[in-house]
Amino acid sequence: MGSLQLQSIRKSYGGHEVLKGIDLEVKDGEFVIFVGPSGCGKSTLLRTIAGLEDATSGSVQIDGVEVGHVAPAKRGIAMVFQSYALYPHLTVKDNISLGLKQAGVPKPEIDDKVRKAAGMLSLDPYLARRPAELSGGQRQRVAIGRAIVREPKLFLFDEPLSNLDAALRVNTRLEIARLHRSLKATMIYVTHDQVEAMTLADKIVVLNGGRIEQVGSPMELYNRPANLFVAGFIGSPQMNFIDGEKFGDSAKTVGIRPEHIGLSRDGGKWKAKVIHVEHLGADTIVYLESDDVGPLTVRLFGEHRYAADDVVHATPVIGGLHRFDADGRVINSGQ
């Protein structure tokens, strides 16, 4: 149980409109990720769902029930914050169980739930400690534990991995994915990191400037971006954008992902000079400057012996082109 409907949610602070009419439907058990650059309104949207902010207009429904005027604690949600937000003066056990105590759950049941959550997150040895005595990863696990014991209809995550270092981030990401599979709960997750979005989501919602740019599965967004913004935001390194005229196409802009360009020393469509090469082992990223179409980024799989100042020829792979009109919307050429 845990579906969510948002209808034309607007939110403004003073005269400044942060959310400009958001419509969204999240089905039971889905893992939905809000992604976008900072200031796009994704955190505000999450807070509106949680009830920490009131929408200026529009409706929020959880399981078909309007919750616009329901207190956060009564909405059946749980939230994990970027700063963990653990109660510093309480032990791990008390941190996890506070919400249940507040709801008047009998003590044996609380103990049972805390033990189960602690087992799931391997927190058993730390139950008597205070947050100050835990590492960053452990603290975030406590915060997740605090969410799990409430058995919410909706899990809300507000950039939960941003404060962790790279190695821990991958581990915690896997843990959240595993959690989603075992709990089969609906989760809504905010991040600005598109790798997190691509790896975790069933459905990604790309936000920009208070509007939804596109909603779709990670592969839909990667293969069929609806507009220039999504095309540039999803995928790393960023998609190459080439002026339609230079490309010899009727579209205003033509986009090609770096992995959809081939390189050759002998001959090809565009002659270019190598500016810089990044050897990543599995990939080689080559930055080119071409007289025909300007700067290009090319991603080659495996190791390649290109070096700066080499002269090479780049050729786009047929079928890897994305064509956009003057408004930045994709032109469906029926490919």
Binding site: L52, P72, K74, Y84, A85, L86, Y87, P88, R130, A132
Partner: protein, 279 residues
């Protein structure tokens, strides 16, 4: 090596400065306590000497304890000080929470208005306060003093505490809201424990002027049953003759409750600093 030596010299200099300051600060206290144990002649002959078997005398303490109800004065002082601090901390913290946590029309203006009292001495309103107390039949009650001191302490408390409350993370309060804590529970159970060091600072700043005050006890509560220690000691200071033994003994006794309260609050200060916060 040279680095270690410079830091040694620097710590040495810091210690010398601090020790010198401590001596200067403690000298009057030492003088008061040492002389309170001496006979009247010895006080005037050698004010700086410590009591010897010949000059030792408890006459001052005997006078203090015999004359007037000194234990009663102490009780009055302690009651007034402790209750005033408690009220200042409670109301100050609540006002500070409202100012820092909720966005409402006139928030900044309200904050400035509440802080105005820092700049305007409450004694300017003595006549009006006295008239008010007479009208409400509160003259010669401890309640009168408590009310005045609470009003006197609030502006600084609101000012300092609201600055500190702004530093408490929003996420923490929001986590509490999602866990079903009421706004009161968030205030008492999440925010207050985190700003304990600031509360201790405010308590110390509030306590000392109240304990030492002579003005309001003299005007609002000069009756025998409601005298405070400071006012009670005044009976030994005459226009022509001052009983120095008694004055010094009374002052020595008056130092201790302040010391005890200060020790309690400074422990809070240290504990508050070491409590783990977010991140």
């Amino acid at each position: 090596m040279s680095k270690a030596r410079t830091s040694f010299a620097r710590t040495g200099a810091v210690h010398v400065a601090l020790i010198a300051y401590t001596l200067v600060a403690l000298f009057p206290v030492f003088l008061t306590i040492a002389n309170s144990f001496k006979s009247r002649n010895a006080i005037f002959r050698e004010p700086l000497a410590i009591p010897t078997p010949e000059t030792f005398s408890l006459i001052g303490y005997e006078t203090v304890l015999k004359q007037g109800d000194f234990i009663g004065y102490f009780q009055n002082s302690v009651v007034v000080t402790v209750v005033s601090i408690a009220l200042v901390l409670l109301f100050g913290a609540m006002a500070a929470f409202a100012l820092s946590e909720y966005r409402f029309r006139g928030n900044t203006l309200m904050g400035l208005y509440l802080a105005l009292g820092i700049m305007i001495p409450i004694r300017l309103g003595t006549v009006a306060i006295l008239q008010g107390m007479v009208a409400t039949n509160l003259v010669n009650t401890l309640t009168a003093l408590i009310l005045v001191y609470t009003a006197q302490g609030l502006p600084l408390a609101v000012f300092i505490l609201s600055e500190f409350m702004r530093t408490v993370s929003d996420d923490l309060k929001n986590a509490g809201r999602i866990d079903g804590l009421s706004e009161y529970a968030i205030f008492f159970r999440l925010v207050l424990p985190l700003i304990r060091p600031a509360m201790a600072t405010v308590a110390v700043f509030t306590m000392i002027p109240i304990w030492n005050d002579l003005w309001f006890p003299l005007i609002l509560a000069p009756a025998e049953t409601t005298k405070t220690v400071t006012l009670g000691s005044q009976i030994f200071i005459g226009q022509f003759v001052t009983n120095w033994n008694a004055v010094l003994s009374a002052l020595s006794l008056a130092i201790f409750p302040v010391l005890v309260l200060y020790v309690i609050f400074s422990r809070q200060l240290i504990r508050g600093i070491t409590a783990g916060a977010v991140k």
